[in-house]
Subunit: 454 residues, 2 copies
Amino acid sequence: MTKKIFLTEDEMPRKWYNIAADMPNPMPPPLHPGTGQPVGPDDLAPIFPMNLIEQEVSTEREIAIPDEVLQIYRIWRPTPLVRAERFEKLLDAPVKIYFKNESVSPPGSHKPNTAVAQAYYNKVAGIKRITTETGAGQWGSALAFACCLLGLECKVYMVKISFQQKPYRRLMMMTWGANCIASPSDETQAGRTILSRNPDSPGSLGIAISEAVEAAVSDPSGETRYSLGSVLNHVLLHQTVIGLEAKAQIEKAGDYPDVVIGCAGGGSNFAGLSFAFLRDKINGKDIQVIAAEPTSCPTMTRGPYAYDFGDTVQMTPLLPMYTLGHNFMPPPIHAGGLRYHGMAPLVSQLVRDGLVEPRAYPNLDTFKAGVDFARSEGHIPAPETSHALAAVVDVARQAKAEGKEKTILVNFSGHGLVDLTAYDAYLSGQLTNYALPEEEIVKALKDLENFPKP
Amino acid sequence: MTKKIFLTEDEMPRKWYNIAADMPNPMPPPLHPGTGQPVGPDDLAPIFPMNLIEQEVSTEREIAIPDEVLQIYRIWRPTPLVRAERFEKLLDAPVKIYFKNESVSPPGSHKPNTAVAQAYYNKVAGIKRITTETGAGQWGSALAFACCLLGLECKVYMVKISFQQKPYRRLMMMTWGANCIASPSDETQAGRTILSRNPDSPGSLGIAISEAVEAAVSDPSGETRYSLGSVLNHVLLHQTVIGLEAKAQIEKAGDYPDVVIGCAGGGSNFAGLSFAFLRDKINGKDIQVIAAEPTSCPTMTRGPYAYDFGDTVQMTPLLPMYTLGHNFMPPPIHAGGLRYHGMAPLVSQLVRDGLVEPRAYPNLDTFKAGVDFARSEGHIPAPETSHALAAVVDVARQAKAEGKEKTILVNFSGHGLVDLTAYDAYLSGQLTNYALPEEEIVKALKDLENFPKP
């Protein structure tokens, strides 16, 4: 048996899969926070190019991947599907484990799947410059990479505290020619306002979003747009290339998963792997689909399904989703990509319909799973990815207890080579599990009281 | 045309290629520094296991890769051969460029090819523990990875200044369960002697080698051996899997290189790619084989061919090689892996015989080539690898000037994701080219005066 199952470049998917065409229940529409009415394409036009807005609302089942995007995907795609025999042996359970290795992209994660697509659609819409925000820098580095290869300018507002403490992803952006600046900056009204109140502000994702959106909409040339790395429908759409490849690969191996697992922050890598398999589930296939989140930011496992802002500064439309409230501040776990208060509306709807099962895992369990994986399979996972691996361990344990054989497919969404300080903290015993008091969630949810209910 | 040419795992080479069987002139033997006589296997037995010593002196053309090594190679091998069309376009020259992507291994470089083999041979010889030294940490992290997967203990003496300033590779070693300590340490006589003279010693590769060798030979259980990441024949042998794969791949693409290029510090990644092609050259094929080194450490381009110690503390046998003298201290360029005073005896002999052409490139040229590559092909090269890319640029420029078409094959020996501070220094204009005064080389070579001549 071979360890890695490859597709040839000719076997790469030529179309993304749009799950909106197959969902048993449609999602409620996003609402304008002022009017309470559904937002239309025109409301979004100053922020995103129209071709991406069309994808955002499309119900076509399949959307062709443009040739130029395919050409760039070929730099790292198709990614290998790998049989984790050594991890299986360590777990000593009746499971077969396959992981889809999305860490082989130059920025080291699944994020370029949508970054390249978004840069392409902006480019063909005549846009010259893209702005975005980034926390720890995984999204910012992916967009910098994409803009570099497509010849667009890229400006990334990076939360100042991360800008100072986590130089590696900032340096990646710089190497790809992007302009990465610390937020709050003095280049936007939003930034200047914060700085005038607190010159030493460490910044926040909310502030960085405000700056990035302001920089896009206020460019008098009209040649700048904003880009988001998760949550939205078109972002999840672009990620489905992961699951379409994985399905072709696991079938090549003569197999099919009983359980499909991804970690979920905003939902994009989880959706990327699982949507192609959820299509089969909707059509009657008996599989389990698990979205793994941190117990410290338990959006789906403890939050209500409600209308909420996608961002803390209330600039987005109200989105129908599982949420902990847009002011919820998760504890500072190292998996920055999972510290998001909401969940993609598409994923939220699928959870609501019982098609996706959310499970939450505590910090120490996820790092243990990550280290066990690194020491058996060799690849060091990103702390986000380790949440998916904790779910694999969980499922394997259960399979063993029940004496049932299971085939597990998991998304190895990124490597941890520039997150090694997190492993340092774990291995030197500095990490703990965060017990999140119920009061804190109740308090954060107060913000939602006056919003419409989906 | 596809961008990446893959081999299946079934098509992986099952044997390493030993160029000693085909060299037109044999190498002079290594000498015992005390007696001036050739060293025998028994001299090396306290340091290396006998099975590796046998490989060191073997003249068999092919040596079978053990099954357990093949199993672990499959974690990242066969590595892709990639057509660098976007870099070609940027260079605007009549060249086709293929790169062999060795950066896909979990530690991010070609080093695990020999680390896994060495850990395996130590294990079957009954050894429980391997010691080594590391500078910036590329070799130490590869050996930590290999020992982890083969169930051996690994102790890495890391030069103290790097230990403090370059935490990422140290953390990689830790994640794979290795014991990485700052050198000089108080755990060896060599370390304690240095510390008693200078408690604040920043350490050096020479001191770290002394500590690692002492820790191996002084273990009363006899269950510890020492491991070296380059220079020696058996190390180069294990790396030949790179070129054997690349040859099968480029032939699959219906092509064959006119020029084969690798960067060379101790010589292992260069040998790894080129030896399979040098075999064809010895048999009459008309190809050019270029070893790229830094002008700041111009071992082959400005050093004599002489007997010299492999290390600065004079613990190794005298090796016949191009050398700048074992006390030569190259300027602190960021390509730590190329700051070695000597060159592998096998590579040295091939240079001497006119089969390999050494070329030296200055610091700024190499970083420019690295950034150009990152911005066209997407992958950020290690600073060492950028020396090979500078040679590609050089060959392409020449091809354009002469109006000749060339097919170039280059080893992408490692990625630069944990070397990004070097790019920071380059992009912010802090780097210069080092002009190495002739006097400095003359001075360093004085040490060789009393050694036998090869």
